[in-house]
Amino acid sequence: MMALPQVKQDVTEARLQALKMPEGAGWAVEARKAALSRLTQMGLPGARDEYWRFTNPGEFNAPEAAEAPPFDDGDESPVFGEIDRLKIVFRDGVFDAVASDDLSLEGVEIERLEDALSTDIHWLKDAYGAIEARTHAPVPRPFAALNTAFATDGVVLRATGKVSKPISLIYLHEKATSDAILHFVIRVEEGADLTVLENGPAAARFNKCMEVDVADGGAFHHVRAQGRDHERRAVTHLFATLGEESTFKSFTLTANGVMTRNEAWIELNGDNAVAHIAGAAVGDGRFHHDDTVFITHDAVNCESRQVFKKVLRNGAVGTFQGKILVKEGAQKTDGYQISQSLLLDEDAQFLAKPELEIYADDVACSHGSTSGAIDDEALFYLRSRGVEKGDAQDLLVLAFLAEAIEEIESEEIADDILGRLDGWLARRRS
């Protein structure tokens, strides 16, 4: 093992000084120590690391979270407010039993992470940090290892059937310097079907890791709304392994936020599995949004889709790093990747790095990345029919994002997300 450069060692040590490993059952402590060892071997990222060239990791590396005053949403109704769901609330990264619903729902076992990690015999023993540990080659994900080692709260879900309503994770932020590390482990058993919703800023700084294992024939749906307008910083990890004929669908809306890095790592291990991951990000002003996605095809006849759209203005920066790796033998792979930005003015910036690596000969993989402004022809066409200029622009922005939003299967949830976007657009104009 090559020694880490001194600067990396220093940054990593300084960060670790500020952290304390929680107690738990023997196996849980072992799992955390193993993660810590992974972290110290790879070290925290530097600005020159290949996958951190577009996003400066400094604010995630800092021992303390930068101050971020809680944000007043005004009179905007909370996202997913009208959806029948089971609410699990975290306040500055701490589970809030009073604000949460009773953690019982047919078809799914729900446990608080610390309870599961303190139980001597638990299925989590083989799962906590297990997927995270596999995500580091070839691209190290030190903040995910840090998360496994030091997560202070979270939830463990095991879906055994068709779960009647979504599990809704709500992350409230109240303290100006809160630094939250939450970890979720989700197992969707054979043929089970689970939807997880996430929203809220969580803390001044938020590190989240969600490990999802979808067994044969299982289905996992994930819809997340990040934002809005918060001063917050977030680095999130969504990791999944997929069994035969399983389905994984994830959509994220990000509306502002100073710094967001959303990493996804998905491995299709069973034949005929399907993975769709989509994101719509709208940024105005001090906004840096990074999607880093790595999809591995390791089975026959699987389908993956990556659809990422960003609308940027007034200095906002969007980045996309997306890879499709097709392993030897993963024949009949159907891989699709698109990343696009709509730059509403000349100050916005979009950086993209699409990658394909293919070791099978009978596959169909396509990728594309574009960056452009509002189409003047389309704008004039709409205006010539009487649509006011601002409305016409908004209509074109929504049209640009449509392909990503279409990845949300539930019409009710998609409508909710569209409502958020309408709100964002209206605020830009007021």
Partner: protein
């Protein structure tokens, strides 16, 4: 209805004069046609009237029912009752045709201080209009003009015209790219809209569209001016002899 006086227009980007003093009056309820060779300024006239960027009016005026339209935004001109059927209708991926039409109609109604039409009422309204133009439900649901054939795009323009009910309709080479059947369908759509309170300015290269949409007056445009005005027989003269004779006569 539409009154254009001594209109001079140049391209904004370069010092090129396109319209050099156009005079034209289209009274209410009348159909006027403008014919002319390529590069005579016909399409520029339609764009300037509808408010497209890139043109500068250096002299002259254009009024719709006495109101100066040249200072208005494109959407204000639309609300005032002006409609341009595009020569090349624009594809707008991601915006459903029906959503587009309802947004446009309600924007115009709102601008005129009228009540917006409900989704239910609009659905009934548009189905009826679409049926007459043989536009099926699928075309209404698809994104605006995306994947439409040339004929479908032009029919969609006429559908928009029927839905929005403008007072002054400008048709910019609506016949281009249409086969005989499609042209008849489009012409029937236009004829159904002919009305005492509605005027048309039909811009075309060829006389054949005017077989289906009978004009009251035909103008010939050349080098940025109206050079000759006459009855429908003028279109036949162009058809038989081309523009050369008329232009020679003028010289």
């Amino acid at each position: 209805m539409l009154e254009i006086k001594n209109l001079h227009v140049k391209l904004e980007e370069e010092d090129k004069q396109i319209l050099k003093g156009v005079d034209l009056t289209v009274p209410a309820g009348k159909v006027h046609a403008i014919m002319g060779p390529n590069g005579s300024g016909k399409s520029t006239l339609s764009y300037v009237l509808s408010g497209r960027d890139g043109y500068e009016v250096t002299e002259g005026a254009a009024t719709l029912e006495g109101e100066d339209i040249l200072d208005m935004e494109p959407e204000e001109r639309a609300a005032a009752g002006l409609f341009l059927a595009f020569q090349y209708p624009v594809e707008i991926p991601g915006v459903g045709n029906m959503t587009f039409l309802r947004t446009a109609l309600n924007a115009q109604r709102k601008a005129r201080g009228e009540d917006e039409m409900s989704a239910g009422d609009f659905l009934k309204f548009i189905r009826e209009k679409a049926k007459a133009l043989k536009i099926d439900g699928d075309m209404l649901k698809r994104p605006v003009n995306v994947g439409f054939s040339g004929g479908e795009k032009k029919r969609n323009e006429i559908l928009q015209m029927a839905v929005l009910g403008p007072k002054m309709c400008i048709l910019d080479e609506t016949d281009s790219g249409l086969d005989v059947d499609a042209m008849k369908l489009v012409a029937d759509g236009v004829n159904a809209l002919r009305d005492e309170g509605r005027s048309f300015l039909v811009i075309t290269h060829y006389q054949r569209l005017l077989d289906h949409i009978q004009p009251d007056v035909v103008h010939i445009m050349a080098d940025g001016r109206i050079v000759k005005t006459g009855g429908p027989e003028l279109a036949l003269e162009v058809e038989n002899n081309g523009y050369a004779d008329i232009l020679a006569e003028m010289a």
